[in-house]
Amino acid sequence: MDLNLDELKRAMEKEGYVSEDDLAVTVYLALTLKKPLLVEGAPGVGKTEIAKVLGRVFDTEVIRLQCYEGLDENKALYEWNYQRQLLKIQILKDSCPHEDIEKDLFDEEYLLERPLLKAIRSDRRVVLLIDEVDKVDEPFEAFLFELLSDFQVSIPELGTLEARQIPIVVLTSNGDRELSDGLKRRCVYLYIDYPDIDKEVRILQMKVPEAGERLNRQIAAAVNYIRSNLDLRKQPSIAESLDWARALVALHADVLTVENLTRTVNLLLKNRDDRLQVLDGGVLDEIMRHALGEKAGEKGHTHCHCHGNLPASSN
């Protein structure tokens, strides 16, 4: 399925991914230039989600390779089916010379596909998600070069296997380690930053419409203030904003108050020191002031004594 840029943008939005021009253009280029897409950004800004959304847009399978330190080609590319090989040896040991057995043993029928091989041997164009590529060792990163530039892999016993259909490759990185120039050169690059208030409102509206626009705007403003002004060990991600919104909805809140913020802050901030910083009286007031859109010096009604159950007239 070929989509032009505007169609792609609309299709992504339809699948629940709010994308600006920068993001849509980069994804579109990765698709048209048939190059891997390298997405960097803080945890929880929606890097992995791009691959999942592309899977839905193109109605195809998403094959995921979760990276970690120590990942090697046996777990990423292929493994020989040792049990079957041993059985075959046992069956043939008295009837065949061992050179012939060896020739038979390393045949495709004994090959166990791991995500990378599965992606390039698939008959359909799949989405290959190589998640958190910054976690792998440098030699493994270099091993990926052949796949990412030529869409082929080499298996010593079988030779070079070329992709039947060039997959849509999405690599994500949290920036724990700087990736090599070789890897970056082979990819189209996208950096996703935390969204501004308007974009976050759109995301919240799309994912948690039951919260209502007013509450979603207050949540986005509060989170934006926390990210921009507080020195936290871990900034709240978009995923955490969504969880927070859902928690507030579960508490039947339709407006943000000091009380419901205090009760639900552990969904937004997962570090004790960060929570204590936010719950400090002065900071809490500032957050509420920004969330409710008050100007400096104005004192608003930030305290709710109805445990989040505001009358409908407050809308």
Binding site: L5, D21, D22, V25, T26, Y28, L29, A30, T32, L33, K35, L38, E40, E69, G70, N74, W80, Y82, Q85, L86, I89, Q90, K93, H98, I101, E102, L105, G175, D176, R177, E178, D181, K184, R185, C187, V188, Y189, L190, Y191, D231, R233
Partner: protein
Amino acid sequence: MEPGETACVVTEAESAGLNTIEYNITRFVQILRRLGVRVSLAETVDAVSALAGIDLLDKSRVRAALKACLAKSRREAGIFDQAYGLFFTTPEEKARRRQQYREARAERDRLINTAERELMEVVEEWQRDLPEKIVLTEQQLETFSLMPESGKERMKEILDRMKSNPVNNPGELINRVLQSSLNYWRYYMMKNAAGGGKAGTLPEEGSTGDEEMDEVIRSVDAHFYHHPGDRILHRDMESLDDSDIPRMTSLISHMSSQLALGISRRYKRSAGTAAVDIRRTVRRNIRYGGVPIELRYRARRRKRPRFLLICDVSASMARHARFVLQFIYGLNSALGGLESFIFSEDLERTTEFFSKNRNFARSMTDMINGSRQWGKSTNLHESLKTFLRHYGDKLTPDTVVFIVSDARTVAPEAAAGLLRDIKLKCADIIWLNTLPRREWEQKAPVKLFCGLADMYECSTLSQLEKALRRHVFKYA
């Protein structure tokens, strides 16, 4: 420029092949490269191909397409955005900026000529006896022109007073004094450039010979590090204001814990026993009917090395030392058992201050209060002598020694001799030098120590993190 004139210029350029997309992208790539963005030929080709699928009249999409192909990190994306806005602009804006630059350049030339005249008047008397005339670089003359009036007068006064100095070769002496005080002033003024000014970490490239490209490079260079986070990461640690310290402290804490996390994962893995390599084992045992008689193992990882830190806390290093020690303190949570020493006139062991359960701020206060070395002058020779005498047994063939110092020490030759002895007893010596690399050439001790240790520039937090990451992981 009138619209009609602009149209003429554009038509003329197009007919000469100077206004094609390829031509402009190539020039833009050259600008990015000058600014330290590594763009390969393949990426340039990608950028041109990318534009084929984009509406060229949609500026923001063109920008996004080029950015996706040419900028491959957050830092590079920042440089790209700055340079793009300056390069792809209207001819009128470009002409206005060029005119502004020409005027600034003329003013600079005037100031330099005046500075040269003023200085030559003072040294004229010696010039007659000198076989070679005093030649000052444009940079040195610019420094003099930018000095405060009181500083200029004081310098002239000192030079004047030296007339009565009965030395053998007054001309050479005056030349040396003049050059070194101008270099000092330049360093001092750069350090005090308010608000980050020029951070000194973007490459200081020469002119491209193209006025328009040079103008873009200069503008990005001056503006890029205005983001507070970037400014702190890439600015000389010594020149940070006190107001930057809380932000710096939190950045270090974050960076060191990230690094520590990676290291602890790696150590955990290496501590395991050797694993059987099934593929090689099956192959090897086909001759035995598949019965695994001869096992084959995966290669074992290298044994974990020991790290030893020797940190200079003399007056010139005091501020750097605070940040470096905090970084090491953070790393110690993963490395454990790190041996650490501080030195200036002599050496003291500080290992116990870095124990895991101690609070860093309290450790630092205790260390500074209990130390007789903090803020003194540097004697690396004496310090290494003490180290070898009392702690020589800490050196083993798997020890990696990190020395953090600006290499400004008395008796550098003697210190180099002891460093040679240390090198024979350990795996490697890594020297993290807080002096900017561009100054290394002029410092004899730096050149001397360079031959004995792997030396890396480490004047900014970003460089410190990179150097530690590279070496701690290399040996892990």
